[in-house]
Symmetry: C2
Subunit: 235 residues, 2 copies
């Protein structure tokens, strides 16, 4: 089966967590909106005329007759099919729980540059973004990355042991993104979570991930995505 | 099996989505942190000494040997066991997708009074809260509630048809909360989503939900939870 991924064509954004899973799984997929006419097709699917169960927002994945939205939901589906999560219920729920916690972290990362909401531009909320970013690095990054560090300390080298899961791929992406968006702050912080960095390096060295990141399929980070490098926020 | 729910004892908060599902399912459960010594027990479980897979934050549910955190993950588990979601994969993923979209909405509801983040008090971010709340009601409420209105229009009277799911219970709670937190704004808005209101009334009239809401098990809304009534934000 050839999967169809639908996501905004110019950013990594939330679609990237799905792309990384598809790449690690060596799945056959097309990134629809990056092809000619693809973005219009994506928008048409969301209006709900064609689909019985239209998504609220991208990313979504077409898998045969299924159209699945919400990153964690897509990964729940892909994880079961491609060995990127345990098959038994307890392990499956645990990896999903980790993914949902990573998703909460991603929301807070996004809010550093958009504290007044997604409807206003960053340029309209610079002072608030500085305040929120300061709080984020003081309290939230240590709490979230510290939590994942503890999980690896207990069960490493990946989050759940010796086998990589989709949650590890997402944590890799978060480290990548924090390093891009906040190079100074992250450099100062990251010595506190050596196991998270080791996990990042292990994922980066996986042959399919390494090939993907080096390819043109990987869209470069930019200031339209979730992770944005604004020097004013990186002090 | 007697479930153990762990959540902050003085607020509805995110625990309420789980409580509503347990009540509708007529499940045997105890709300641990509301009992003597329960909050200390909850905190001990999060430190990770007792548990192999400690939660990042409440709510979490102990179900036999499983300890499951993240609201949507708990509901995924409960839905399958108590007839609160379809059994077939497509329907199961669709209800989970709706729940994750509702969860995104809940985050934005919380951010109306905490735009600068969860680490500062509301009193330290009043002007920013006013701005964010204005944007929220102008753009985000119509987008989210409009999306759910469209789903009911297609497949009503519940979100997925004639059978109630855990996502319907969560949408009920969101309407309850918006009416409490923003009585004036919600009164003006809600004529635009009559089907959402009808769904709310149907859930409210379900015997177990009605009995629960009238009981002492239901904690009243207050200004410590997700839905907070601050007159300055309700114009």
């Amino acid at each position: 089966m050839r999967y169809e991924l639908y996501y905004w064509p110019t950013i990594q954004g939330r679609g990237e967590y799905v792309r990384l899973a598809l790449e690690e799984a060596d799945a056959d997929y097309i990134d629809v909106a990056r092809r000619s006419g693809g973005e219009a097709r994506m928008m048409a699917m969301m209006t709900g005329r064609r689909l019985d169960t239209p998504p609220f927002a991208p990313p979504f994945l077409k898998a045969g007759n299924l159209v699945i939205a919400q990153v964690a939901n897509i990964l729940l589906y892909l994880g079961a099919r491609h060995g990127l999560a345990p098959k038994a219920e307890a392990g499956r729920l645990w990896v999903h729980q980790l993914q949902l916690t990573l998703a909460d972290f991603v929301v807070e990362i996004h809010d550093t540059h958009h504290p007044l909401g997604p409807t206003l531009y960053y340029e309209d909320q610079r002072p608030q973004a500085r305040t929120r970013t300061g709080e984020f690095w003081k309290s939230r990054v240590p709490k979230f990355l510290g939590y994942f560090e503890d999980r690896i300390a207990r069960h490493g080298p990946y989050l759940t042991g010796r086998r990589v899961t989709y949650a590890d791929l997402s944590l890799f992406q978060i480290v990548e993104g924090l390093r891009y968006a906040f190079p100074h702050r992250m450099k100062r912080f990251e010595r506190r979570t050596p196991r998270v960095l080791d996990l990042h390096a292990r994922v980066a060295a996986r042959p399919r991930i390494a090939a993907y990141v080096a390819s043109e399929r990987r869209i470069p980070f930019n200031t339209d995505g979730i992770f944005r490098h604004y020097p004013a926020l990186d002090k």
